[in-house]
């Protein structure tokens, strides 16, 4: 029964809170949607911590796509055998994980010790940083220590298919029953993190300005079009 809760009910609750919460915040609290930078207060430590963390987590994101979203069959067809895959996963993922953890620790210490940053840090800020830190420490532990000392766990046949099954609304929770504890813990904390996104500064993940390179440099907007957000281009 608890298996059904953790691998069916809980993930869907987390996703629902995330989606509904973000829609609500975007529509009704749009003014609060931002990347809450503290660079204006302190630059020296941010210069090291922030790029380290952000680039690390972008690499980690693509790593998770490779492991969770892309099916194992794909690698088999390509001729990538399990050893090659795991060697790449452990080295690449390990680097990304270390970057994330190191960056986050710098950022967390900075948040707690630099007076200006500390004074303006909210509960939600600490909550988000500590939760991401917990998830990434677990993930880095799995990648670097568990995979090399216990065994290179084949999550592509258990966690991956389970994760994909969530999106087709056919959750195969039984795949998760035999998964080692650290992996299960990592997944549960990650879903907790997803659920917290709408309530923290993490919403800025979804604001990556990907369209910037393609738009006209100078933007004109007419008063007529203001509320509709339309713009004429140069």
């Amino acid at each position: 029964m608890s298996e059904v809760f953790w691998w069916v009910v809980f993930p869907y609750i987390a996703f629902t809170i995330m989606l509904v919460g973000m829609l609500y915040r975007f529509a009704f609290r749009g003014v609060t949607w931002t990347a809450p930078s503290t660079e204006f207060f302190e630059k020296k430590w941010l210069r090291i911590g922030s790029p380290l963390f952000h680039y690390g987590i972008i690499f980690a994101f693509f790593g998770h796509i490779m492991g969770m979203v892309v099916p194992k069959r794909f690698y088999d067809v390509l001729g990538v055998n399990d050893e090659m895959y795991h060697a790449f996963g452990i080295i690449g993922g390990g680097f990304a994980g270390l970057m994330v953890v190191a960056g986050l620790i710098i950022l967390l210490i900075r948040k707690m010790t630099v007076p200006r940053v500390r004074a303006q840090a909210s509960f939600a800020d600490y909550f988000a940083v500590i939760l991401v830190l917990l998830v990434s420490i677990l993930g880095t532990y799995i990648t670097i220590i568990y995979n090399t000392t216990v065994h290179a766990y084949e999550y592509r046949t258990t966690i991956g298919p389970w994760f994909r099954s969530l999106f087709v609304f056919q959750p195969q929770y039984e795949l998760m029953t035999a998964v080692p504890f650290v992996f299960r813990f990592h997944v549960i904390v990650a879903f907790l993190l997803f659920a917290s996104i709408p309530f923290t500064s993490l919403v800025h993940i979804f604001s990556f300005p990907a369209r910037y390179p393609t738009r006209a440099p100078i933007q004109y907007r007419s008063r007529i079009g203001y509320r509709k957000g339309s713009s004429t281009r140069k």
């Binding site: 204006f40 200006r116 990556f208 390179p213 713009s231």
Partner: protein, 497 residues
């Protein structure tokens, strides 16, 4: 031709007494909330000096504005790809130390202090951390009226550029005031720097604004603006800037800074320009040609062809009329005595400055009252022409000299009319050197010295016919958004279609 209208400002620096009334009234209206205490949409700096924020003109460090790279106009800090790569840390951003840490005083202590031997003191207290600041070391206008002396003057990037000894001996010092607001540029680098597309230039009046709902706090506008006139609200984590008091200008009222200016040195008006020519004008090779090329984008509001095109572009009669009566058009384009601030940034700024003249007039009066000496005196003024040129003409002293000659000619001509005492020959010689007719000079004297409210501020009201639901609003109740009339459809996202 793509005609657009732009509201612009001229500041006549001769009349600025550095009283900071503009800054204070602006602050009371716009920046007296948590998160924006350190912001001055309008500030008045004593020059030479580091300015606000400190050394904002140091483009090598902050990388604001545009540059020509292989003949192509690009942002100095780099294009979109560079920006996305440095999204997580902007190396060019000025931090709070370049502005100042805002503080208040512990006034409460004055009332609650127990009886003691010494008078209670209200200690300064940071508005960021809430901690006491034992010794504030920098604040707004810390360097006012050359305070700090040569130590602060030498921080001025213009002084550094001149590479000459600027005398700080008491008898030889010079200073001037430079009131600054957002330039509402024709080619705004802040708009081009914004990854979210939140900054935009209004089609109707050219005012540059930040869409608070679209801003994601990436902060490239702050470093992209070479004038450092976009600020970061550390409370809302969004950018804010001077909005040219658009709620006032839309109603035909001058901006707060202009309205309250004690010296009445600010002029507001409309100019028409060709938006298709902006990029070309900003892309001329030699920075010294930028002033002339900027002037070339403006259109003559009396030209019938321009009027016809303007009507076609949807600019209505009151705006065309305002463009014809515009004091900006007269000062900046017709008489050419108002100059842009740092044209070398290639932004085509829309706040213009009439350079100050007073010190050389004193210089003349100190010497023998020889009327022949007006022209040479312009070349030996107290504020070095190179300094003014570094501020307003990308180093071209010839333009500054011409403007100062015009202003000198105006004073001499008006003095001649009331006091006399100058022979015909040197009088006509001066007019010839200044390149102005007596009629123009008298018009100029009127606009600079006696112009009334309506002559200084020629602002057409915002175009209400552009509100899309005027018919609906006719007779409507102002709280209808909160309590719509029965039977009206309401939409959860706020806007009636």
């Amino acid at each position: 031709m793509r005609i657009k209208a732009q509201v612009a400002m001229v500041m006549h620096l001769d009349k600025c007494i550095g009283c900071h009334t503009c800054s204070v009234t602006c602050k009371n209206v716009w920046t007296n909330r948590p998160g924006v205490e350190y912001m001055w949409f309008n500030n008045v700096e004593t020059r030479p000096g580091p300015g606000y924020p400190k050394q904002w003109e140091d483009t090598k460090r902050f990388k604001g504005g545009w540059v020509l790279k292989n003949g192509k106009l690009t942002l100095r800090a780099g294009g979109p790809i560079t920006k996305l790569a440095t999204l997580f840390y902007n190396p060019d951003l000025a931090d709070m130390n370049q502005y100042y840490e805002p503080w208040t005083y512990d006034y409460e202590h004055l009332i609650t202090s127990p009886k003691s031997k010494h008078l209670p003191v209200a200690r300064p207290k940071s508005m960021i951390t809430g901690e006491f600041i034992d010794k504030p070391e920098w604040g707004p206008n810390w360097d006012d009226d050359l305070a700090g002396g040569s130590e602060n003057v030498s921080l001025d990037p213009n002084v550094k550029k001149l590479q000459e000894h600027i005398a700080m001996e008491y008898e030889k010092t010079f200073m001037m005031y430079l009131p600054r607001i957002c330039e509402h540029c024709l080619n705004p680098p802040c708009v081009a720097s914004c990854p979210s597309g939140a900054l935009y230039k209004r089609d109707e009046d050219g005012i540059v604004l930040v869409d608070q709902e679209a801003c994601r706090g990436w902060r490239f506008c702050m470093s992209g603006c070479p004038y450092h006139k976009v600020y970061y609200n550390w409370n809302t984590h969004k950018a804010e800037k001077c909005n040219f008091c658009y709620p006032r200008t839309e109603a035909g009222l001058p901006t707060v800074c202009s309205e309250t200016c004690v010296g009445r040195l600010r002029y507001l008006g409309v100019v028409l320009y060709d938006a298709d020519r902006v990029k070309e004008a900003a892309s001329v090779e030699d920075p010294k040609d930028l002033y002339e090329s900027q002037l070339s984008v403006f259109l003559d509001p009396f030209d019938p062809q321009v009027i016809a095109e303007a009507r076609k572009a949807g600019i209505n009669e009151s705006w065309i009329q305002s463009a014809q009566d515009s004091p900006i058009y007269k000062l900046a384009m017709k008489w050419k005595i108002a100059l842009p601030l740092h044209p070398e940034y290639r932004t085509l700024p829309m706040v213009w400055y009439v350079p100050p003249l007073s010190p050389i007039m004193n210089h003349i009066e100190e010497g023998a009252l020889n009327t022949d000496h007006y022209i040479p005196a312009v070349d030996h003024m107290r504020i070095p022409m190179e300094y003014l040129a570094s501020l307003m003409t990308a180093g071209d002293t010839e333009v500054i000299r011409k403007v100062l000659l015009k202003l000198t000619a105006m004073r001499v001509h008006m003095r001649q009319q009331t006091v006399g005492g100058m022979d015909e020959l040197s009088h006509s010689e001066l007019l010839k050197e200044a390149g102005m007719s007596a009629g123009d000079i008298e018009d100029m004297a009127r606009l600079l010295a006696v112009a009334k409210y309506d002559e200084r501020f020629v602002i057409p009201t915002g175009r209400r016919e552009m509100n899309d639901d005027l018919y609906y609003r006719y007779g409507a109740c102002s709280i209808e958004g909160l309590a719509p009339p029965e039977g009206m459809m309401t939409y959860p996202f706020g806007k009636e279609e």
